[in-house]
């Protein structure tokens, strides 16, 4: 008897079973997507119409409302992937590995966005799209870690081996995340230090900060929505031999017009 077939005991662990998590993910995702949309509109409004022009940089600093949330998200998602990988390896829960694989493309997307917006911000302020400083280089390494994780987990046919190989990259690569975060402290970087930290007052106008935080919450909600949507077909794939997936497929097929 597999864990999925056992009677649910604790309420939280109930959702660790694929057949309870699948419909829950489907119900939650649209709400997170709606929240992401509302927060993005609010954040853009704050960013473009409320936040003042920067005294030294002029208007180009408005890239910050995407750049910083995307960079935060790219680091955070990688840590969450490492967390699910560790849970999967220790507890042998297969849904955990699927979660980390469902997160990876969104993390890679945010990582690319952080690099792209950073390049477009760097050109007018530093005079260069790219410099090999510690912050930029470690962030580029993060993109390669994401791409390596995605390539590896998709290249290996046997899902169990793919899960384990991916988990190793996620766990080993997680070391890079604090390196990115503290790079501006540890090395002399062209990239500026943190404008926002938990220990001291933020070095920016409060409306700028508000816009940035709202956009960060938008990125969070978006990640939740798109990951929950992505994990659903992955669960169907993995659990395709079970009765409940059969029932789900027949229901979906009837709705989509006979499963052409």
């Amino acid at each position: 008897m597999t864990a999925a077939e056992r009677a649910p005991r604790a309420s939280l662990f109930r959702f660790a079973a694929p057949q309870t998590f699948y419909p829950l993910a489907g119900r939650l995702a649209p709400w997170f997507a709606a929240a992401a949309l509302v927060l993005t509109l609010a954040g853009m409004w704050l960013g473009f119409f409320v936040a003042p022009t920067d005294a030294t940089q002029g208007e180009v600093y408005r890239v910050i409302f995407i750049h910083v949330p995307a960079a935060w998200m790219s680091m955070f998602i990688y840590l969450v992937m490492a967390f699910w990988s560790a849970v999967g390896l220790v507890m042998n829960t297969r849904l955990s590995f699927v979660m980390s694989q469902a997160l990876a493309p969104t993390g890679a997307m945010f990582c690319f966005v952080a690099l792209w917006t950073g390049a477009l911000w760097g050109r007018p302020t530093w005079g260069a799209y790219w410099v090999w400083d510690a912050r930029l280089t470690s962030q580029l390494l993060l993109l390669f870690l994401y791409l390596g994780f995605i390539a590896l987990t998709r290249a290996i046919e046997d899902p169990r081996r793919a899960d384990r190989a991916g988990a190793m990259i996620a766990l080993v690569g997680a070391v890079n995340v604090p390196i990115i975060y503290f790079s501006v402290k540890w090395w002399n970087t062209l990239h500026q230090g943190a404008s926002v930290s938990l220990t001291k007052a933020p070095s920016m106008a409060s409306t700028m900060l508000a816009g940035m935080l709202v956009m960060a919450f938008a990125a969070w909600a978006y990640t939740l929505a798109v990951t929950l949507w992505r994990v659903r077909p992955m669960i169907l794939e993995r659990e395709r031999h079970t009765e409940w997936v059969g029932a789900v497929l027949e229901a979906e097929g009837a709705r989509a017009g006979g499963g052409r």
Binding site: T53, V60, H67, A70, T117, E237, R240, E252, A256, G259
Partner: protein
């Protein structure tokens, strides 16, 4: 508000290419990801449904 006109807004103090290049690519990627996720879901349901029916047919034939 710091914009005198719509054209001043689009101009972004001369940094239009950098600001709109950032927002444009980001939203294009978000839209693309949204579209790909949706397509993958539909593809998976169709493929697994076909697979399931093929397996079911095989079983019936073997039983007969």
């Amino acid at each position: 508000m710091q914009w005198d006109s719509l054209s001043a807004f689009w101009d972004m103090g001369g940094a239009a290419a950098f600001v709109w290049g950032s927002y444009g690519v980001t939203f294009a990627l978000v839209a693309l990801e949204f579209f790909l996720v949706r397509r993958r879901r539909l593809d998976t349901v169709r493929r697994l449904l076909r697979w399931r029916r093929a397996v079911g047919k095989e079983k019936k034939e073997r039983a007969a």
